[in-house]
Symmetry: C2
């Protein structure tokens, strides 16, 4: 049993929690909690489980399977609490391989509806957007370079498991992908304060790309220049903007609403 | 100039930031940042401004008005940073009176569309919901007893000023309000995992109440029993639920979409 936080393996975990560069270099990340570790295992991404002695004592059916099939280490209760990134820990975390997808598969997806994030900075927003994208039935989430790190512990947590189910990709230049989607025959709409049409007047039934911009500055000028058209979400009162995850949700669910029962594949 | 964090006034501010009970007893709260303090002033809720010496140096037109019209104290730069609840402070905060509304005005509102929160616990979700409710043009946000404290610094921040513009009320028993809204002739829909109709099949054009439940457990049984009907948000993939602020946004914006151009007042 590991009973010191300065154990080499635990130091590794802390690095994976705190250092984006180290996550990128190793292509690993940390997933906390039962459901997340189980999903990682089912997806074939689980490398190793770390479990608190306090949890190991309580027999659980799904846990038995996990510990039989994958390598694990036991950690003392006190040390696990120090290790955990959450306030109330479930006493289990996994070192997990980052899922990866290729752009060809993503663009070939039959649902042909893509969310593109141009510089979303808030880790919680990003996780919530991934979660909503799964619910709204999107093909993939395509992220421009400035976008937050999906493998940040806070982001991982707020995806509620969508990180293992929703295809995603980081791209160097989002305008290249927008051009490809347009060349493939789909419209690409970007949300903007003064978008020329209301978001619900755009047609998503034949497939589409949806671009959401940065929380404070919206979509970059160079990205706006290459989209099919801009859309706005009507706002009452004196509000300047909606939360980015909310704006993404409103547009994705309008697309889903239009497409229910009339998707052309 | 105040140059010690143990100054009595600053202790008071810290109590207002950290103690929900103290906020309730005093009917005060702390609003941080230029826009928020300005909104508080315009709304007639500002009691006193605290400003960092570093900000006072930089002349700003809107700041001059604020400092001429309302009492203020200067705080040393270092102490202000300790005082601030944010990572990158703007160097200004206000002690602010809590806005208050009465249930009669709320139920008489001409837009006649109300959001009811049954036990939303996450402060960030609550703030985002207030912000979206303003954007979607709701009458008010009505909160049941277990709902998070709107005057928590994190919640205040995530309302982005809606806390000064969006009517709201805490009620002891949300079922009483639901009954009143129904007695006044409006339907009340509650989001549930197995809601009987899709959220976009409900009719919001004649006015309606919308109930959103707790993040983990949904709407309480006793609340479900008194609503007109339950609605669900269709979900693709293996997702168990949407984030509560996202679910609220999707339903509120569907109501707004239906009502644009055909609101019956």
């Amino acid at each position: 049993m590991i009973s010191s936080i300065s154990n080499q393996q635990l130091k590794e975990i802390t690095k994976l929690q705190k250092q984006p560069k180290y996550r990128r270099a190793s292509s690993l990340f940390i997933a906390e909690g039962f459901k997340m570790v189980k999903e990682a295992a089912e997806k074939g991404c689980l490398v190793k489980t770390y479990i608190s002695e306090l949890v190991l004592g309580k027999k659980q059916e799904s846990l038995e399977w996990l510990l039989k099939e994958f390598p694990y280490e036991t950690v003392s209760g006190q040390v696990f609490r120090q290790l955990s990134d959450t306030v109330t820990t479930q006493g289990i975390l996994g070192v997990v391989k980052q899922p990866s997808y290729n752009i060809k598969d993503i663009l070939d997806d039959k649902k042909h509806i893509w969310l593109m994030l141009d510089d979303i900075r808030d880790p919680g927003n990003l996780g919530t957007i991934m979660r909503t994208a799964e619910g709204a039935g999107l093909s993939a989430v395509i992220m421009g370079k400035g976008t937050a790190d999906l493998f940040n512990p806070k982001t991982v947590r707020s995806t509620m498991g969508s990180i293992f189910r929703m295809p995603f990709i980081y791209v160097d230049d989002i305008t290249e992908i927008i051009k490809q989607i347009k060349d493939n025959g789909y419209s690409v709409y970007g949300t903007a304060m003064a978008g020329s049409i209301a978001y619900d007047k755009a047609d998503y039934t034949k497939g589409a790309g949806i671009v959401i911009g940065n929380e404070a500055n919206g979509i970059q000028e160079r990205v706006l220049e290459c989209i099919t058209g801009s859309i706005h979400i009507p706002m009452d009162g004196k509000l300047e903007s909606l939360n980015a995850a909310v704006a993404a949700a409103v547009v994705m669910y309008e697309a889903a609403r239009q497409r229910r029962g009339k998707i052309i594949r």
